[in-house]
């Protein structure tokens, strides 16, 4: 009895401490994340034009409109295309770079810096530079590609090639960030595991499959989840490089939200799209946690 009471009081004290430790960051999150999400939900049930002081309740009208909106579904397809194109390739590439960077070779710090540089550069500036490089008439890169025998393409002005070009730039930009996280994961794998595997006669490939990958699972999960979430929310790059064009071929969901919210000033409809995106991202994240068996330890 006495012991039990003591335990509860310790737990209470811990809870209180946890509360105070969490309070600062939770209040920031509540004010700038949770509250806007709730507010958005409310907005999405109204006709809410920024230009109109009268915000009539619209029920499910915005959501019904969304279901019948071809351009919204196009944006969904384009976003999935972007994600499917950029995430797997990006992660394989960054894992390869991380493995390379993990080797004690000369000049490795410069190598890492080179790959990390795009990560810390502004996306707007990067996008402008790539747009110049890819310009079909005066772009250096499109000139080289043509000289190397690639069929001439209008790149960002082509409905077929604009998205692959955008994806390539996204991979180039993000690969360094994932590399650093994976590198940290690699360095935390105990060398004794590799020694044991070697003694058991495992080759390099086998060591990678049986030691590195399983040990990296948590890190990989993290990288996959944040990459997918970031891809579903891709915006600045599309905004600067293509404006969603040509003919909506690079128009992603977030760009479409921007188009309705800040170009047509229809906040109600934009909020409805944003909420659908939120739910989709949430579900996909749950699914990924499940697929990677996050809480199991094998």
């Amino acid at each position: 009895m006495n012991i039990a009471r003591k335990r509860t009081s310790v737990m209470n004290r811990q809870k209180r401490a946890a509360f105070w430790f969490l309070l600062p960051s939770m209040s920031i999150l509540a004010l700038f994340v949770f509250w806007p999400i709730a507010d958005l939900f409310w907005l999405s049930f109204h006709r809410w034009s920024l230009l109109d002081a009268n915000h009539a309740y619209a029920g499910l009208a915005n959501y019904v409109k969304l279901v019948h909106d071809e351009r919204f579904w196009n944006a969904v397809v384009r976003t999935v295309y972007f994600t499917a194109g950029s995430v797997p390739v990006g992660i394989v590439l960054s894992l390869a770079l991380a493995l390379l960077a993990n080797e004690p070779l000369k000049g490795m710090s410069a190598f890492k810096a080179i790959y990390f540089l795009p990560v810390i550069s502004s996306f707007a500036i990067i996008s402008i530079i790539w747009s110049f490089l890819l310009d079909p008439d005066i772009g250096l890169l499109s000139y080289w590609l043509k000289a190397a025998g690639f069929p001439a393409s209008a790149w960002l002005r082509s409905t077929t090639w604009a998205m692959p070009a955008v994806i390539a730039v996204a991979i180039w930009k993000n690969v360094g960030f994932n590399m650093v996280i994976l590198l940290a994961g690699l360095q935390s794998i105990s060398a004794s595991l590799y020694e044991a595997a070697k003694i058991d006669g495992a080759g390099a490939l086998q060591r990678f499959w049986s030691v590195t990958l399983p040990a990296l699972r948590q890190t990989l999960l993290f990288v996959v989840i944040i990459s997918v979430i970031a891809s579903f929310q891709v915006f600045d790059q599309v905004y600067v490089m293509t404006r969603g064009g040509p003919l909506n071929s690079t128009e992603t969901v977030v760009y479409y939200i921007y188009h309705h919210g800040f170009e047509l000033l229809d906040m109600g409809y934009a909020s409805a799209i944003a909420w659908v995106l939120f739910v989709v991202v949430f579900l996909i994240t749950l699914l990924q946690l499940r697929l990677f068996r996050f809480n199991e330890t094998d």
Binding site: L50, L51, D52, A53, R71, M108, S109, A110, K112, A113, F116, L117, I120, S121, S122, I125, D135, P136, D137, I138, A154, R157, S158, T159, Q187, R243, G245, P246, L247, N248, H259, F262, E263, L264, L265
Partner: protein, 449 residues
Amino acid sequence: MKTSAKRWATTTVTLLAASALASACGGGKPAAPAQTAGQDSAKQSAAQEQSGGKQDSSGKAVTLTFWNGFTGPDRPGYENLVKQFNDTHPNMKVTIDISPWDSLLAKLPTSLATGQGPDLAAFDSSLITKYAKSNLILPLDDLYSNGVDQNVLPKSLVSAMKYNNKFYAVPANNATLLLYYNKDLFKAAGLDPNKPPSTWDEWMDAIRKTTKTNGSDKQYGIALADHATIPMWPILVWGNGGNFVSDDNKSSRMTDPKTQEAIKTWSDLVIAGGVSPTNLTGAEADKLFQSGKAAMEMNGPWATGGYTQAGLNYDVAPIPAGPAGKVTLASTVALVAGKNTKNKDAVYEFMKFWVSKDAQAQLSGQTGFPPVRTDLGDDPKLKQNPFVPKFADVANDAKYYLPGLEQYDKIDSDVIVPAIQAITNKKASVDAALKDADKKLNDILQGKN
């Protein structure tokens, strides 16, 4: 490992600092040329005497904010005008805030609706309907009855400044579009550089002759932008007697035979003839023309400064007359008063100054825009700039694009641009694309969407 990590961190930070520095330099705006400052000092001091009597007795300057998107080569013209206003009105200070039009138009309504925003703003006159209807800008009838004489403005400008028969703006500039053509490329194609095309037949012939679709030196007859641009396709539609919306703004004319025929004719030329790249923005079209990769372009007076400075051998001519006669685009930036201004008198003072004879003569002379007044005929400053009369001459043939429509930007970005792109990208036939656009446009016009 630790030391190498540290070294890596140092390298990264150094590079980060370098790139931040580089971007900071790149973002800095170029200093406005002070070329006109000297020659106008006499006039300025005269103006100063005039306004001297109005100086606030407390000596405290009234500050006005002015948001606009004059980012083009004509930017120094507007900056100089503001500077001149500040120099001649010691009791007032206008701070000019220039950002690209699209980001300006994203932040302006929000800030005005929430009780903030600038005292003065400028945007395309087509947007007046939207802003006036939502009471985000102030009606200016009292300014026109006392200070600004509407009889000195061109007639088309007067109606462009109104919503519901009330004035809501003064014209900040007045533009028409002309055909820019590269004289060297004309010569090389065996065309007379002093005899620009004057009919559609001659025009199409010149476009075909200056187009080179194969070989290493690819060249386009015309740079025809279809989005994020000053409207170009509408001029082609009008030239054939077509239009997008009926004159009473109540129904779509997308499937009108004349509209359809115009779009068919020109999209065929683009698709089969390869005379212009597709999916061009206005900025990309300008780049093509400026780099000599396109022989012709339809553009407004703001482009003259940049092309002349680039050393291009070019001239301008009226847009060749189509089957329905001569027509071109009129485009006016409106100067409006934000509803939350606390200094209406100062705002009016600035507007009066902006449309005054002196200010307009100077703006026209510097930028090539026709003045917003009709009574400047023989001002010597206008004569300095040979482009001014050329752009002014076509004013009577000039039409506004989608005037008086509250949903102007939605109709343009969600109906007309996608229809034209679907056709030129061969994603839909002319028939199908225009039928689809017709339905969407009617829905918007009837308030269904």
